[in-house]
Subunit: 383 residues, 2 copies
């Protein structure tokens, strides 16, 4: 019960700070004596700070301002992408304090090598966070592959990396800092849910770049499917007899809207950052690029219409690197949705681009630990 | 708290009867005195009976056998199909006691006329149930159309009936017997969940006949979507440039696997019971019929593969009238799933035919009230 009340008090301050102890009692229904004891413990655990002055100077309600700490406990998000590594350290308020991103051609490289470099990037980010008075207490790694519900800690398959049955813990240089694992699309969706300014509680979050994944958020909760494989949007069929896909099927969405397919259709070479290149050519009005993006948007729209017809979400979010191509993809996606979602009303504005874009998955990875700590502050030692 | 305990006791007897009062106390952790008081109330509300002899004759545990009543409170399921009306009365044990089914060409007829006939069929079924000592205390109507989460009581759209914005209560002859509404695929799925002998907790239930609908059951609960429109399987695209569909899109599953499309492909006329006709011709080895069913199965398999890739269920159930065509549809469905679900392991046996078939929706409609009464016996008056 005390654990639950610690979470209630910390969650209340996180959502509404600054608050005085009296404000917290008022909002939670706990007695002021109970709140004081809980607040003292939360301060001891490094999760709350209490300023010397009253919040907002309201008359008749003296009290010092409580806020979630911007020092002390923090969390690390890491990401292994097909062409990059990224790290983010967030404080307990959920604010990102350190960002790192390096380009790396990870596809086809030995997983041990890639994981060692990710661990090195993580150590750099943690060191930079330490300078700001933050110490990382939880780590989550985003991967562009399938992470089963059980056993945890396994990347069952990451086709665009060429990984099969990789267990990051087996390659991690320091057993004390092995991260938890999660699919990047799932983490991008959680970042969207927790960090972005919108109201949809049930949505499909598309995470597109080299591969195309998706995550389903249902009633404010991530829906991972029976075994953790939900959201394989990239291998939904656009055309039954379409081009063969390395997955073994034909006509999968990735064959129309994946980075390689769009570059090919646009007649471009995949050097540097393909999404930035596509955006540059589209901005310049290059006709083959515009046609390729329209074709990709149509294919995404067809598959998203299937998702809408099947699960009836509030909204659709275009995330990942492709958020930067939204200007050219969204019109075709909306056209296709309007054509194919007809049995029910569908608001064209219910599909939109993520404001987080490429930063979504690594931010979600960092926020996952923050959320866990807020939900159970006893995970942190009392000092 | 007493309401909850009444439900616990009734639910325990429903799941494990016959039990003695002592057995119930043992299973629930309630005191024997509490159980006795609760059992007395449940008997007074007509939900339990107590026989004179001990269950199983176990030594040292005297007590009279409690069982859920097979008389008294009962529930009515009704169904309006495109070509039939059906009614079912189930007792509190969930056993169907009255079945009625009549062929009726309901497509395009005035909704008021169809609803009046459904109400007459319901009255007949209730009268027949009364002869068996059953009195109906709740009514649910299954419709082949979209029933929004809000406002309830509205059939927003039933394309194969030609209904738009129909409110059955406006046409029902007796305001005391107006049924609750639910989509037929949803009710078929609930019947499958509650009545069939299988273990899947998360599955897609396809309900096919004139139209093709589906329902999603997630973790043992019906998933209706944000607005109640989840499961529109019939309008998921099989081919982006396929035949036009009355819904306004092209290449929808119904254009490949709906009754009319299969009959056309098989070169058959739609007289009598089209599904029975298809089964008869397929049994006789008629090549065009076999080809048409294989084509329909392939299309269903493609769309179901999309569903598996998107939501990662335990299983898929082929229900409704098409369960009778499973022998010819399932091989093609399984082939397509094996080709298109490749990023994760998929067991071909995870797709199977419903044992309830055409009876699923009306049985589910009856069981819905039974479940509600078991979950809250205070809905019934104490006599």
């Amino acid at each position: 019960m005390r654990r639950r009340n610690l979470a209630v008090v910390l969650g209340t301050v996180a959502a509404h700070s600054p608050l005085s102890r009296a404000d917290v009692a008022g909002r939670t229904g706990l007695t002021r004596a109970a709140v004081s004891s809980l607040v003292d413990e939360l301060i001891a655990r490094g999760t709350l700070t209490e300023a010397a002055t009253a919040p907002g100077g309201r008359v008749g309600r003296p009290g010092r301002a409580l806020a979630v700490s911007d020092r002390g406990p923090a969390s690390l998000g890491l990401e292994i992408g097909v062409a990059h590594l990224a790290a983010c350290v967030a404080d307990l308020r959920g604010e990102p304090r350190v960002w790192r991103r390096v380009e790396r051609a990870n596809a086809g490289r030995p997983p041990g090598q890639v994981l060692a470099e990710a661990a090195a990037l993580a150590a750099e980010a943690e060191a930079e966070a330490a300078v700001q008075g933050l110490h990382v207490t939880g780590r989550v790694l985003a991967v562009p592959g399938v992470v089963p519900n059980a056993p945890r800690g396994l990347v069952e398959h990451a086709p665009n990396l060429g990984w099969h049955g990789v267990r990051p813990a087996d390659h991690w240089p320091d057993s004390a800092t092995v991260p938890d694992l999660e699919n990047e699309a799932n983490l991008g969706a959680l970042a969207e849910l927790w960090h972005a300014d919108h109201t949809a509680e049930t949505f499909v979050h598309v995470s597109a770049e080299a591969g195309i994944g998706a995550a389903l958020v249902v009633g404010g909760q991530l829906f991972r499917g029976t075994r953790g494989f939900a959201g394989e949007l990239g291998h939904i069929a656009v055309h039954p007899d379409g081009p063969p896909c390395p997955c073994g099927a034909r006509g999968c969405l990735e064959q129309y809207a994946g980075e390689a397919a769009v570059l090919r259709e646009a007649g471009l070479d995949a050097t540097g950052d393909p999404v930035a290149l596509l955006a540059e050519r589209a901005t310049a009005g290059d006709a083959p690029t515009l046609r390729a993006l329209e074709r990709a948007g149509r294919a995404m729209g067809l598959v998203l219409a299937s998702a809408v017809n099947l699960i009836d979400p509030d909204g659709l979010v275009l995330g990942g690197a492709y958020a930067e191509l939204a200007e050219w993809l969204l019109p075709a996606i909306r056209t296709e949705l309007a054509t194919r979602v007809t049995v029910r009303p569908w608001d064209p504005e219910a599909v939109r681009a993520s404001l987080l874009g490429r930063r979504g998955p690594v931010l979600g990875a960092a926020l996952l630990t923050v959320r866990r700590l807020i939900a159970d502050p006893t995970r942190l030692p009392a000092t």
